[in-house]
């Protein structure tokens, strides 16, 4: 980390910490003893030092909203659950990463990769246009499938995902 500087009280947003704690992935946040097993277990950290779960957990505890939510590292979790499996304190580290991303989205920051996937789901109800593959499927003796966009769009509308995604559309820096 080349950008080390002391953390000032003015950097901290305790409202953010409360928001994290209220998420299903944040309920065990305060039990973290900073032992670093999550970081030692993390396959992403092994290849890319900018993703450091222990550091992210500390930042969430301290309320470093700006540094976490505006970062690109918050999107780097591979969701492998090795950290959650090995945490001696039962901190739901993987779920915490989901919580942080969800909070970022609520503040208008959506990674373009997810925007693209949601756009596909809106078009086809799945991540791909399955009907385009029906010819190939029938050659293999596989049954045809239908694109049913409404199976996604109706739920996106009623759960408020559409409103979430219609925000200012900021991208992580």
């Amino acid at each position: 980390m080349g950008d080390e500087r002391p953390i000032r009280e003015s950097d901290l947003d305790l409202e953010f910490t409360r928001e994290v704690r209220a998420e299903p992935g944040g309920t065990q946040l305060d039990l973290c003893i900073a032992c670093g097993r999550c970081t030692a277990s993390c396959p992403v950290q092994a290849q890319n030092a900018s993703f450091n779960p222990r550091r992210i957990v500390r930042m969430a505890v301290l309320g470093m909203a700006e540094d976490v939510l505006g970062s690109d590292f918050v999107w780097l979790c591979a969701g492998c659950y090795a950290c959650r499996e090995r945490c001696p304190q039962g901190v739901l580290v993987t779920d915490l990463m989901v919580a942080l991303k969800n909070i970022a989205v609520r503040r208008g920051i959506v990674h373009p990769s997810y925007r693209a996937q949601i756009a596909e789901l809106r078009k086809f109800g799945r991540l791909y246009e399955v009907e385009a593959f029906n010819k190939k499927r029938s050659k293999l003796g596989l049954p045809p499938l239908e694109d049913r966009p409404e199976h996604a769009t109706s739920l996106f509308e009623s759960t408020g995902l559409d409103d979430l995604m219609d925000g200012p559309g900021e991208e992580p820096r």
């Binding site: 998420e23 299903p24 992935g25 396959p43 992403v44 092994a46 290849q47 890319n48 993703f51 999107w75 780097l76 979790c77 591979a78 969701g79 492998c80 659950y81 090795a82 959650r84 499996e85 993987t94 989901v98 919580a99 991303k101 969800n102 989205v105 959506v110 990674h111 990769s113 997810y114 693209a116 996937q117 949601i118 789901l121 109800g125 799945r126 991540l127 791909y128 399955v130 593959f133 190939k136 499927r137 293999l140 003796g141 596989l142 049954p143 499938l145 049913r148 199976h151 996604a152 109706s154 739920l155 996106f156 009623s158 759960t159 408020g160 995902l161 979430l164 995604m165």
Partner: protein
């Protein structure tokens, strides 16, 4: 045994070899798979944006299975993870179920709880069992050395996976491989991630994770790798040539879905199992087993 078949997004498009091999081997072992009409995405890709929307998407699929009175069999481990987590969360929380079901009302659906979500490998390992598979083998794959890649979501998080296998010391897929007569070979980091979860976020990091795996397997001297998830296959097989280029070394490592390997042992032909669709051709392996 009757099970609803949940295909998800990737399998029917990118892993038809997986799907076709499952549909071949299942009936041979007394598994009757019924296609789940109206099923859509499991919700997993939406989780990072809205956990709530993802839960509702997962629940909709559970409700479809419940309406047909079926447990749900998944082929993709990420679909499995998403649906198992939703099922577990809803099982103990009536309020959450009511809130979630409200979004399904317009379609006339409701999820009362009770659906079990199982991965096809769990079905084979725990409901069919290695003994019955051994009895059904017509062409023992003796002499084949196989590296098993469990993948993350087949095992973790342990709390929501009904099979209750220890994610730090699993054995189900090794047993399944050995039931075919092949040998499951250990290698460093065999429980590690394929990197697939962040392919769309940071390609370089994702492929570096995959490379660690391929390097380790290459050092173990195996005939093939076995996977049970379409995205693990995308990483380990689909991206193998790109990683070879970047790494300046050749792996030429065939990656088979477990039901393809099982199908060979049950006497099916390579084409019947979709092996012509595998990107890294398993010609030598196929010739050796005489399929």
């Amino acid at each position: 045994m009757r099970l609803g078949l949940f295909l998800g997004c990737s399998v029917p498009v990118r892993a038809q070899n997986y799907e076709v091999s499952v549909r071949r081997v299942a009936p041979r072992l007394g598994i009757e798979l019924e296609d789940l009409e109206g099923a859509a995405c499991c919700g997993y890709p939406v989780q990072s944006v809205s956990r709530e929307t993802a839960l509702v998407m997962a629940t909709r699929n559970l409700a479809l299975a419940s309406r047909r009175g079926l447990d749900l069999c998944v082929l993709c481990s990420a679909c499995g993870g998403s649906l198992m987590e939703a099922a577990a969360e809803l099982e103990g929380d009536e309020d959450l179920r009511a809130r979630t079901n409200r979004h399904l009302e317009p379609e006339g659906l409701s999820y009362p709880g009770g659906v079990k979500v199982v991965h096809i490998a769990e079905v084979l390992a725990h409901r069919v069992g290695a003994a019955r598979i051994r009895d059904a083998v017509e062409r023992p794959l003796e002499g084949l050395r196989i590296a098993v890649h469990y993948g993350c979501h087949y095992l973790r998080p342990r709390e929501t996976h009904p099979a209750g296998e220890d994610p730090e010391a699993p054995g189900s897929i090794d047993e399944l491989v050995e039931a075919t007569g092949a040998r499951s070979v250990d290698y460093p980091g065999r429980l590690a991630c394929c990197g697939g979860g962040i392919l769309g976020i940071h390609e370089e990091t994702a492929l570096a994770i995959t490379r660690v795996k391929l390097d380790a397997v290459a050092g173990a001297g195996v005939d093939a790798m076995v996977v049970v998830c379409p995205f693990c296959s995308v990483m380990l097989e689909g991206n193998q040539k790109r990683i070879e280029k970047a790494a300046g070394r050749e792996y030429k490592l065939p990656v088979l879905y477990y039901p393809q390997l099982l199908g060979l042992a049950l006497g099916f032909g390579a084409k019947e199992l979709g092996l012509q669709l595998n990107r890294i051709k398993a010609k030598e392996l196929i010739a050796r087993v005489g399929a």
